[in-house]
Symmetry: C2
Subunit: 419 residues, 2 copies
């Protein structure tokens, strides 16, 4: 708790930072955060959250998908939900997910100190946002959005061969019951999530906070080029069929296409076979990840990449094949909530940038379910994410908490006015 | 032995093919040739060669570097040497190296059937041309050329931690004595080697045989690009420092530079870190192998690659570092012998192409030692090398043996005439 007392009835941003540091101490190692979903350390983090909630006049419940809900009953049963996730990647950062949960706890705490609010307030800690152990992200929020099919997940295992169902059972969750966590979007007036940016946009713009107007759609594909392996010395340039040259040309092409379309494209993995200095590879494969805020933009980028790969393959005398890794539609957040958030973030932080998230978030699932949603981002230092060196300035974190608090109050006032 | 008898006193190409097939049977598996130097299977192949030599009026000696020499004394002590290597890579082809030794054996056999030749004839089976087990090629011929320094090899081990010195000792060779295998080039009138091409040039030209006028020099370097690892979705294109895009641009650039310079350039290995679909890599490294027939051409290519890497790194906001893997000077074969070989190969095969070898060979070491040298290449099917599916047409192998035989006779005649 800082030297300056917070305004009466308002969130105390310094307490949030202190609690985040406490959580880091209790659930991290020198390698970073270890709150991987469905592990003992994750359960420890949740036990800490529950102990904080024990002091408040809220009811706590873990739903059929393992999401933890704390509910402060208001005059209306319609709820404003504030949420994020305590789970982390292995060796992760101290803020990714935790920030939004601990900030939401602080907002709930403030409302709990006053008279019963006109709306019900709910804090949610989504289960397994990261998908770090089983490779499937947004488990809990997908179930809440009514989009989880247990059959899709029945065969999923971790690196040790443990099935997702076994891991869930160890934490009291039955995979087949998880769809029963689906919410009725009519019960929810809005969903707010405070999160670190995980990218360099706000730092580059010199801004503490930003308002997120949606989440990029994703086209993730594996592209395989096959040519002719041959001797690096004995094969003249005109007689080569080099799949790595084709892959290199595609890497350059998709970058230009992303720039033209206003999206992003990344090749994060590449491999060749055989992989020896004195042989032209016979095969090269890469993973292409394209993202765009609009469906049309995403389709344009994917079409352009297909066309480029075909043209390059023909020119290089190699073959090309594509396989789908993952496809996700873009999400738009609620325009009214985005505007409201911009007003309050601007008032708190002095300036505000509207941006679209390239990373996935539970908020996207709420928006898909029909819940009016918005996110507020806090500047990330160096744009670093999923790493123990992930960090944000303390003053930016505190501004983020204050902005979430103001925004929540504004939504409650608006809900009250709307009756 | 085929249906048509060979001309009296001339090499029998069909016997060479039959003996190569016998050697394949005795020293290969279904995975290919297994005559890796300093192994039991290699010793078996050499025992087969020695048993063939036992029937001839030749003296056989293994020198201090493990090279096996068979000498047919002639009127002059000055020698024509014919050689190649019985050792292979693991899972290798039946012809790579073996062809030249078994063909040389046949030529020696023919000369041994006649009157004592005017020149001494020597067959050499070089030790460890491939360097497959210890990663250092041309061991025996390097020692014969007077260029082997035991100190360079003292720490060299195989994948199991066995030192080269230990492996040599198991075959009666003392590493420190190996330099004593150095020949006096004044004793050698010429060196001839018949080998498969290991590339697609002759097949592409529709030719059975070619004459090799030299061996490419090599610049082999590792190029490391370092940028900024970041989130594939959360990092806009203008804020990226992507080392893989830089690597891709260099791959394209060095290919164009090789075309312009009349050499070859290959990127056979590439890797990124971290290697995950949703992260822009923080680092990318590749191996660049550039080859050219001339020192000037090689230097031009390397300079151009350095300049391109620097320019690309500056444009992409990444750093670049180079580390040397291996540098080998180009070798020119003896113009007189090359001309003589062209005449006889053309006469035997009907047509002939002069080409420069992109692969290293023991003949390059003989040329470096000051011995007039030349090689004859036999067409490789599909240009495939260092693979069990390596192959050549039987008729092309037979033409190669006949050409070697004619060329050897011509060199002996010329040596006799020169007194």
């Amino acid at each position: 708790v800082g030297a300056t007392s917070p305004e009466a009835g308002r969130a105390d941003p310094r307490r949030v930072v202190a609690e985040l540091e406490q959580l880091r101490e209790e659930t991290g190692t020198e390698m970073g955060a270890q709150r991987v979903a469905w592990t003992h350390t994750w359960a420890q983090a949740r036990a800490w959250l529950r102990s904080q909630l024990d002091d408040l006049p809220v009811s706590v419940r873990v739903d059929e998908a393992g999401n933890m809900w704390a509910t402060l009953a208001g005059a209306s049963p319609r709820a404003l939900v504030i949420g994020s996730h305590l789970d982390s990647v292995p060796d992760g950062g101290w803020l990714d997910g935790c920030l939004g949960v601990v900030a939401g706890l602080e907002v709930l705490r403030c409302f709990a100190q006053g008279p019963p609010p006109p709306l019900t307030l709910r804090l949610v800690d989504w289960a397994d946002e990261e998908g770090a152990r089983f490779g499937r992200s947004l488990f809990g929020s997908t179930a809440a959005a009514g989009r989880l099919d247990p059959d899709d997940l029945r065969e999923v295992t971790d690196a040790d061969g443990v099935t997702l169902a076994q891991a869930l059972a160890g934490h009291g969750v039955a995979l087949d019951d998880a769809p029963r966590a689906a919410i009725d979007p009519a019960d929810v007036l809005g969903y707010l999530e405070l999160h670190i940016e995980q990218g360099p946009v706000l730092e580059d713009a010199g801004l503490a906070l930003g308002v997120v107007d949606g989440v990029f759609g994703v086209e993730r594909h594996r592209v395989h080029f096959a040519g002719r392996a041959s001797h690096a010395g004995a094969t003249p340039m005109p007689l080569r069929r080099d799949p790595l040259v084709a892959a290199a040309r595609l890497i350059v092409a998709v970058r230009e296409q992303a720039r033209d379309a206003g999206g992003v494209a990344t090749v994060g993995e590449i491999g060749v076979h055989p992989s020896i200095p004195t042989a032209i590879p016979g095969a090269a494969a890469l993973t292409l990840d394209q993202r765009h805020r609009s469906e049309a933009g995403l389709a344009t980028m994917l079409d352009a990449a297909h066309a480029a790969a075909d043209a390059i393959a023909a020119q290089e005398g190699v073959s090309v094949q594509w396989s789908v890794v993952q496809r996700i539609d873009p999400v738009r957040f609620d325009p009214g909530l985005v505007g409201l958030a911009e007003a309050h973030v601007g008032a708190v932080a002095g300036d505000c940038r509207r941006l679209t998230s390239g990373a996935l978030h539970d908020a996207a699932m709420m928006a898909r379910a029909g819940v009016p949603s918005v996110m507020v981002f806090v500047q990330s230092l160096g744009g670093v994410s999923h790493n123990r060196i992930e960090d944000s300035r303390r003053e930016h974190i505190e501004l983020g908490v204050a902005a979430l608090d103001e925004l929540a109050r504004a939504v409650v006032r608006r809900g009250e006015a709307a009756g």
